[in-house]
């Protein structure tokens, strides 16, 4: 579904991504994991062609993205940005409806069907109660839920989620991860980045660990989320334990309190 080879990018003099290569198969929930400033968001932006890549190529659905128009790309991939606040008080349901834009044609072209899809997406996330509230006056977490609903309404085979759970409470975090699992079960593909090693280890099919020098490790979460990898990116702060067979990452200071 998504194949990236030898991708490099730099902001002016500062190289951010160098020789990044990986691929995500259809139906996979792939986690992108790495310390702050290692280029996760930049990677998304390169794939979406917000930023011009220096070298390498990116293929989605076996087509090079540099050959695709903005309109075509929006039918292939939906993106949930980290934080976004527009200056105008659009209602949440209008923001979700905007997700239907790649599919609409004609004068305004918004059909009843599009509005129903938007409503269903909000229902799926349990945010119908904020449908009629201005989006830019919601809390950060609520806005994140609205953007997630928008990505679902966009109905694309590939989804890029940039820290989709960063501003959410525990219950909503689990709701979003559950939802992501449902989405990939439908055959869609997700690339999501997260800062929580546990989430990545528990929910993802594949993990890519990005560091400041490119990809550090990739593969099954069980093998990738190991003390070795975490030590490299977090300077010996984590310990990986097992809670009845389920991997559990915790800080060393806390792990030391465990009764043997």
């Amino acid at each position: 579904m998504l194949h990236i080879s030898d991708l490099s990018f730099r902001y002016a003099q500062k190289p951010v991504l160098s020789d990044v290569s990986f691929s995500v198969e259809p139906g996979q929930l792939c986690g992108l994991f790495g310390p702050n400033g290692c280029g996760k968001t930049t990677l998304f932006k390169c794939c979406l062609r917000f930023l011009p890549i220096e070298q390498g190529n990116i293929r989605m659905n076996s087509t090079d993205v540099s050959h695709r128009s903005v309109e075509e790309l929006a039918k292939t991939v939906a993106y949930v940005p980290q934080e976004h606040k527009p200056p105008f008080p659009y209602l949440s349901r209008e923001v979700v409806l905007m997700g239907r834009t790649p599919h609409i044609k004609g004068f305004f072209g918004i059909k009843r069907q599009d509005k129903e899809i938007a409503r269903d997406a909000m229902d799926q996330l349990g945010i119908l109660d904020i449908a009629d509230e201005p989006y830019n006056q919601l809390s950060g977490g609520q806005r994140q839920m609205v953007l997630m609903a928008r990505a679902i309404a966009q109905d694309t085979p590939l989804l890029f989620l940039d820290e989709p759970t960063s501003a959410l409470d525990f219950q909503n975090q689990m709701k979003i991860w559950g939802l992501m699992e449902d989405i990939v079960a439908e055959g869609k593909t997700i690339l999501a980045c997260s800062h929580d090693p546990n989430h990545v280890a528990w929910f993802c099919d594949k993990v890519i660990v990005l560091s400041n020098n490119g990809i550090l490790a990739q593969g099954e979460p069980d093998s990738v989320i190991s003390e070795n990898t975490l030590d490299l990116i977090y300077q010996n702060t984590c310990s990986v334990c097992s809670a009845g067979g389920v991997p559990m990452v915790m800080p060393r200071t806390v792990a030391a309190r465990m009764v043997a």
Binding site: P87, Y90, G106, I110, R112
Partner: protein, 359 residues
Amino acid sequence: MISEKHINRIITRLGYEAHDDFSERRKIFIIFLLLGLVILAGVISLVLGAYNISVELVYKTLFLHLTMGDVSTISKLHNTIIWDIRFPRLLLAVSVGGALAIAGAVFQSVFRNPLVEPYILGVSSGAAFGAALGILFHTIFFSIQIFAFIFASLAVVFAYFLARVRGQTPIVTLILAGVIVGSIFSALVSFLKYIANDSALREIVFWLMGGFYYASWNDVRMLTPMVIIGFIILWSLAWKLNILSMGDEEARTLGVNPEKNKAIVIAIATGITAFAVSLVGIVAWVGLMMPHASRMLLGPDNRFVIPACFLMGAFYLLICDTLARTLTSTEIPIGIITSLLGAPYLCYLLRNKGKSILG
């Protein structure tokens, strides 16, 4: 007879909703109400004026003209006043008001800033410079209006290319470029004022305050079709405008090419603004105020804001122009009235609705 079913079908065809769950009938009703207001204001405005003509005669004249009837039954003086002075003036006020208001809505959306007005890219300063040139150096080929239009367009083209870096036109640079171009042209206008003789200076000053004194059918024929075409195109792009107002990256994510679409809507909005300004001078406030007022009434969705803006702008200028020509025995430049009425309104917005409107 048009049944409710027909109405609903038309509403649905246009992409609006007429049915229970997602009904947008309230908003559509408000837009029709505004249309009614504009017509009512027009009807009243036609009757008022320095020269007293009976209501009956005014409408008889209008009716005869509109139905291609025989106008020779009406005295030549009355006919001239009603058909050649008041009516084209009314149409011009409606067109200019509508044009500036929708241009304002477009600029505010594209620039993602509710405090932007259509003159932001230097249209008004460019037009002012052109007009001043035209007033100082009369030529046979170019009228003052044509001079104004040429320089208004030039100013925006300058600003746009000044702001263009590596194939992109970031909003902040574009606004700065507009400020730069605007101040250069303002300086040039001051220079022209300085070298102008007294009568030319007076004319320049009057032009800068705007007015419909010389409104004629020629002006209407030039401006009105342009404004209507511009309005229809912008209205049809209303949903894309919504997307553009979310920001460039968001627009790309949602499949709307920001560079291409921004260039199109800015070109149209600037074009109708330049046209309007070059015909009637600088009319302040309409382009800033009306989009706010529409959003307060109908929410930020441009599918409703654009038509509502057009009607409110038309209504506002119609009222202001009627006041301008009836309030005192001599005419007051309309720019003075739009500002005097507009400033307290913005003050009210800031103090009462500041948070929800300005984010």
